[in-house]
């Protein structure tokens, strides 16, 4: 029931948060009503759209509107110009002169040149997305082709905090990123950018292995990766339980249970199961029960009697 409550709280909080937040602005200029003005195409009003004149290339000059909407010929309007919202995109109209306006701004099935709407990211991905040539595949700094840092939706700390987003909207990720992009960090040959792990992490990882800021085993096999290095460096258990390493805490033997339950992830980096079973087994040794008060043997037994049989007879 407690787990269900967690899940329910999660759904409720995210839903309430989303409803609370403000909605985004719309692209609401009635282009169709002004079709007669566009004798020379979009550049009639959007002067400089292809020349790269940043002052003019998106917003229409308010003076142009006021020429007709002066309160006499037509109703006066209070148009002060358009301020583009910060999209995080590097897009420049001048860099895309061959596309034509309707390629990105055309309303699907819309009639006439004035059936336009704001461009969407999906339109960009037709050319720039995963699978398209040249841009996103294996280029130099592929993200920077289109995005300032960070890309849309890539919230601060993204490199270490993207797990939920990646799972929730996986199809979105693959619009831009190939699978190998993920592998670069999750199973890459080198430590990328020193954000996931700080530089020289091999000398610094001890405290973080106890703290589990991330799940180490997602990328590193505790049994293979951790023990491999620890045993070669002389800090792995080698079958003896006579101590000598955990000498920083008095009466370690009596206190190790607390450390083990809090940091089992880290213990497994050195210790094999048989070493713990030397004392914690119902078959031999000191027969010390390692199970906590919430342990439900029936659930575990239903799924793996094999593990039960390591320490208990009758399986």
């Amino acid at each position: 029931m407690r787990r269900l409550a967690y899940m329910g709280a999660l759904v409720f909080t995210i839903g309430a948060g989303a409803l609370f937040a403000a909605s985004r602005g719309a692209f609401d200029f009635p282009h169709e009503k002004h079709a007669a003005l566009a004798s020379d195409g979009c550049e009639t009003c959007h002067t400089g759209i292809y020349s790269g004149d940043e002052a003019q290339n998106v917003s229409v000059d308010p003076a142009l509107c006021a020429g007709c909407h002066n309160g006499q010929a037509f109703v006066a309007v209070d148009w002060q110009g358009y301020t583009p919202r910060e999209s995080g995109l590097k897009f420049e109209h001048a860099a895309h002169p061959k596309l034509g306006c309707k390629t990105c701004h055309g309303v699907p099935d819309g009639e006439g040149d004035m059936a336009v709407q704001a461009a969407s990211g999906e339109t960009c991905l037709v050319c720039h997305g995963n699978g398209a040539t040249d841009h996103f595949e294996v280029g130099v700094n592929p993200c920077e082709t289109c995005h300032y840092d960070p890309a849309p939706g890539h919230t601060p700390g993204w490199k270490t905090q993207h797990a939920t987003a990646a799972a929730a909207q996986l199809p979105n990720c693959t619009s831009c990123h190939k699978e190998t992009f993920c592998v670069d960090c999750h199973d890459g040959p080198v430590n990328p950018d020193f954000e996931y792990h700080p530089a020289n992490f091999v000398m610094r990882h001890g405290a973080e292995s106890w703290a589990s800021p991330m799940e180490c085993s997602e990328c590193h096999s505790r049994e293979v990766f951790c023990r491999d290095c620890h045993s070669n460096q002389g800090v792995a258990q080698d079958g003896r339980t006579s101590g000598g390493y955990h000498d920083g805490v008095a009466n370690w033997l009596q206190q190790h249970g607390v450390a083990a339950r809090q940091g089992m992830d880290s213990c497994v980096g050195c210790h094999q199961q048989t070493e713990c079973m030397a004392c914690h087994s119902a078959k031999s040794g000191w027969r010390i029960n390692p199970h906590g008060p919430d342990f439900d043997p029936s659930r575990a037994e239903d799924r793996s009697t094999q593990a039960c049989a390591y320490c208990h007879t009758g399986f």
Binding site: T13, I14, A18, F20, A22, G131, T133, V138, V140, E144, P156, G157, Q161, T164, A167, A168, L170, P171, E179, V183, P189, P198, A199, M203, R204, G206, A207, S209, W210, A211, E215, E218, E223, V224, D228, Q233, G234, G243, G244, H246, D247, G248, A250, W252, L253, V258, A260, R261, Q262, G263, Q273, T274, H280, G292, R299, A300, R303, T305, Q306, A307
Partner: protein, 484 residues
């Protein structure tokens, strides 16, 4: 050692069959990456003296020089120390990855493989000479995608690799369904669960491969909501037991600059929520984005191990961070911290000295005026078992176009406290780093050389020493053209 070449060879065979024709849209692109490293290590060794030769009583005593030792009556007193002998490690990896388009619309092949050479047994996984990380065929259309071969799958359960197939259907646009299955591979190893790599690491390692099955459903509510739920189980091939059975739910909402991320992963055998997170990120307020996160974490262990039966406990953590990115000048400032408390372990004496909480702090300043950059990072990690305080300061200059080519000087300092061992370690040093991109040749070179002074405090037998480190990397990109 297991070398699994069959999927790879099948893939190459398909590629060769499909590549020679001059069909429009055919092409292959990818890269080859070589990484060579050199570093020095000074392994630990265990030393001992007869218990009779050590004064005092009890389990832990001190030698005349102050070294703490662990003694057993009538036996030896033992301790660990660096043996003073440096060992040079020179791992060398070669990666090849590629994506090829066959000329048949939607049909492509993908591969990523690695060879590891040098420093056998002294650097993790250099005993795994060849590693096929992924290699699959993909048939991708607007409404569905079918993949077959060796592939990764990322979900709320983490990152799993398997040999098999997956089918994704997304015909409604807002809804997607996925089913996948095949022979599972040990996480982080890319090798079967009963392969030598795993069995040599644990006396109780499983002797059977695993079959992995899973399904997921996801939705997308415009640009606002998205979410997915995943169920996955792994079964021994002899059907006698499960290796894993888990489910996860992940939700995201992006509205008006706010981001809400929530996730939970559940372990059926031990009735535990392994990882539950709720993270809220604000829009930029005066240029600053704030993030707050609550997290519960309990480690998950495969069912072939006894670790979950030892009732590991989780912790609850709160984390706050703030990031300021200036658009006026190239400056980024980031700072944050987290505090965690562990659940009751129901173990050990009442007056245990093992802490049940921890905290961390971090900060970063990145400033890049006129192609120069200064990048300072600091991290503090304080918890039970160990603590670390330290950071890096980098002064660099970008060379040429973009930010790929650069040359930099790095200074580094770290203090490490190992709570379960006696002593503190200080590491200070620096390095020269650089990279250069030769875009005409599709080549990027990188290299670094550094030296770090290592000083152990309160361990009288330890000798201070200087560790050398170097890396050389080369990446060559190829692209014969082609489209999806």
């Amino acid at each position: 050692m297991n070398v699994h070449r069959r999927p790879f060879l099948s893939l190459i065979a398909c590629a060769l069959l499909l590549l020679p024709g001059a069909v429009v849209g055919q092409g292959i692109r990818g890269d080859v990456t070589l990484n060579w490293g050199w570093l020095q290590l000074r392994p630990f060794v265990r030393d001992s003296v007869l218990e009779d030769g050590v004064s005092g009583s009890g389990l832990q005593r001190q030698l005349a020089d102050g070294t703490t030792v662990t003694c057993i009556d009538g036996d030896f007193c033992r301790w660990y120390e660096g043996n003073g002998i440096r060992q040079d490690i020179t791992p060398f990896t070669q990666d090849l990855r590629f994506a090829g388009w066959t000329g048949v619309q939607g049909l492509s092949f993908h591969g990523q493989m690695r060879t590891r050479l040098g420093s056998d047994d002294l650097w993790p996984r250099t005993d795994q000479k060849f590693d096929l990380m992924s290699g699959y065929l993909s048939f991708n259309r607007a409404a569905y995608q079918i993949k077959a071969g060796r592939m990764y799958r990322a979900s709320g359960l983490g990152y799993y690799n398997f040999d098999g197939a997956s089918v994704v259907w997304r015909g409604l646009g807002w809804l997607w369904l996925e089913g996948y299955g095949g022979w599972s591979l040990a996480r982080g190893v890319n090798a079967p669960r009963n392969g030598d790599l795993v069995t040599e690491s644990d006396l109780l390692a499983t002797d059977r491969r695993g079959l992995l099955f899973g399904g997921a459903v996801g939705f997308r509510g415009g640009k606002v909501f998205s979410g997915s739920a995943t169920y996955q189980r792994e079964i021994r091939t002899d059907r006698l037991a499960l290796y894993t059975e888990r489910a996860a739910v992940d939700l995201r909402a992006l509205v008006g600059g706010w981001a809400f991320d929530g996730a939970a992963a559940y372990d059926f055998a031990y009735d535990q929520v392994n990882d539950a997170r709720l993270r809220i990120t604000t829009p930029a307020l005066a240029g600053i984005r704030f993030a707050a996160q609550g997290r519960h974490y309990t480690p998950f262990f495969d069912y072939w191990t006894i670790w979950s039966a030892f009732s590991p406990v989780g912790f609850n953590e709160g984390r706050l961070s703030a990031t300021w990115t200036s658009r006026a000048i190239p400056l980024l400032v980031e700072a944050g911290g987290a505090y965690r408390e562990y659940e009751d372990t129901n173990a050990g004496p009442a007056n245990t000295t093992v802490k049940n909480d921890g905290w961390r702090g971090f900060g970063r300043v990145y400033w890049s005026p006129n192609r120069w950059y200064v990048d300072g990072r600091y991290r503090a990690e304080n918890g039970f078992g160990g603590a670390r305080y330290g950071g890096d300061l980098i002064l660099g200059r970008y060379v040429g176009k973009g930010s790929v080519s650069y040359v930099a000087l790095r200074g580094s300092a770290t203090e490490t406290l190992s709570e379960f061992r006696v002593g503190e370690r200080y590491v200070t040093g620096g390095a020269v780093e650089g990279a250069y991109d030769i875009s005409e040749a599709n080549l990027t070179l990188d290299a670094s050389l550094g030296f770090y002074r290592i000083e152990d405090k309160n361990r009288s037998l330890s000798q201070d020493w200087t560790e050398g480190r170097a890396t050389v990397g080369l990446r060559w990109r190829f692209n014969t053209g082609g489209t999806r």
